[in-house]
């Protein structure tokens, strides 16, 4: 069944973790919770694809995890607080994950944050219905102030 359309689907670059994604992504998030235990982290690292079998994911979900495609995980029902545990298992800081999801280097991402973060201008709406939205650029180099 196709995903129901929601008003918040119009927010660019955003996968809202709603009840529907929560249901769909239950295996992803349950897998991520399992990584809270050191023995499980080791078992996963030893045989990633094999370890994932116990969670009964869709092939797309498995691929997203194996490829560390964090945006795809979110799209398929993963939630950031859960997928961050996978990032931690790989030894990455949260800011590293944020940079990966935005398609920038960690250095550029950190510089954007220091300069005041990503501006909301041009980042409100995909459809452009929302009045202040003009440019659709999601360039992480965009600065405010």
């Amino acid at each position: 069944m196709a995903r129901e359309r929601h008003d918040y689907d119009d927010i660019p670059g955003t996968f809202v973790f709603d009840a529907e994604r929560c249901r769909e992504g239950y295996p992803i998030n349950t897998f991520c919770m399992s990584l809270m235990k050191d023995a499980n982290r080791k078992a996963f690292k030893a045989d990633e694809a094999g370890y994932l079998k116990q969670f009964h994911m869709t092939p797309e979900q498995e691929q997203a995890i194996l490829k560390r495609d964090y945006n795809r995980m979110l799209e398929l029902g993963g939630n950031i607080y859960f997928t961050a545990k996978l990032g931690a298992t790989d030894g990455h800081s949260f800011q590293h994950l944020a940079a990966v999801m935005t398609g920038s280097t960690q250095q550029d991402y950190a510089a954007m944050m220091l300069a005041g973060g990503r501006s909301v201008e041009g980042n409100r709406s995909i459809s452009g219905k929302d009045k202040p939205a003009k440019a659709k650029s999601q360039s992480p180099a965009k600065k405010r102030k």
């Binding site: 670059g13 809202v16 545990k85 298992t89 935005t102 954007m112 990503r118 909301v120 980042n123 409100r124």
Partner: protein, 297 residues
């Protein structure tokens, strides 16, 4: 907020980047030390620590005698075990449920950085063997899975909490912390969004126009201030628990703390000039001063 916790735990609070954040809480620490609350109701959100996607309570009240820090993947944070106030918490739960808010009762729960970092910011660093200076009643709110409760629902829950606090026979000084927020998005290609103008407007209206804030739809929080800014609905529980008229005691706002904006405000119920003698005593238990605080990951 884990980043703030890590900065605290790893002794980085004097580094210029972090000092800018921590120094903003110095006046608040002083305020809290002078206020000397008996109990703090801490409205916060769990980050896949106590609650996985197996169980997602909208409002969960901690009625346990103590709440140990959770292991969030790198060992429990080196902070004290939070002591609860089970009798008071149960009183609140009963009163609030009969006031038509269907709380989940939690008798065993670990607390993550969503609760322990705010405590650190307002009480300073405390070693595991030490004590927090007051009892803690955690109120966990689902703001992770959409939809979280509406801002209006949160505000009304705050009002019910106030009534529950007022009806408790013991004379306690109670503070309530609203945590989470302000503008931030930490997921997806739009991560890093900050909207200071929107945040500052929210802070202004928290004092003067809370009812107006309760009408903000979820879409606006997410669109204007980032997907995770929806945590701000938790501030409205705190605000609802205060008197309609409040005084702003202190405010602090800075960008960034790692991936987010940090906003912090202290509100006190407006002091009535005529309050004295008997009336004062009668209202003592009801004087829920509030520290709102926030910061994130």
């Amino acid at each position: 907020m884990p980043a703030i916790g890590a900065a605290l735990d790893n002794g980085k609070t004097e580094e210029p980047y972090w000092k800018r954040v921590f120094s903003g809480f110095e006046p608040s620490k002083k305020w809290l030390a002078e206020t000397k609350p008996d109990v703090a109701i801490v409205v916060y959100n769990d980050h896949a620590s106590a609650f996985s996607s197996d169980l997602i309570p909208t409002f969960a009240l901690g009625c346990a005698a103590e709440f140990p820090p959770a292991d969030e993947g790198w060992g429990p944070r080196p902070v004290p075990i939070a002591k609860g106030d089970p009798e008071f918490a149960v009183h609140i739960a009963q009163a609030v449920i009969l006031d038509e808010f269907d709380l989940t009762i939690v008798n065993k729960m670990e607390i993550d950085h969503g609760l322990t970092v705010p405590l650190n910011l307002l009480c300073g660093k405390k070693a595991p063997g030490e004590q927090w200076p007051f009892k803690i009643i955690p109120l966990a709110v689902n703001v992770v899975m959409y939809p979280p409760p509406t801002g209006h629902r949160c505000y009304m829950l705050g009002k019910a909490l106030r009534k529950a606090v007022e009806s408790y026979p013991e004379d306690l000084k109670v503070v309530i912390f609203g945590t989470g927020g302000m503008s931030h998005q930490i997921s997806g290609p739009r991560a890093g969004l900050i909207n200071s103008k929107w945040d500052k407007n929210f802070l202004d209206r928290l004092t003067k126009d809370p009812v107006g804030l309760t009408r903000i739809p979820h879409l606006e929080y997410m669109r204007e201030a980032g997907a995770e800014a929806i945590e701000l609905v938790m501030w409205l529980i705190m605000r609802g628990a205060l008197a309609d008229k409040v005084d702003e005691v202190y405010r602090f706002y800075t960008v960034p703390a790692s991936n987010t904006a940090v906003g912090h405000i202290i509100l006190e119920n407006h002091k009535r000039a005529s309050a004295a003698g008997k009336a004062r005593t009668r209202y003592a238990a009801a004087r829920a001063k509030a520290a709102v605080r926030r910061s994130e990951r």
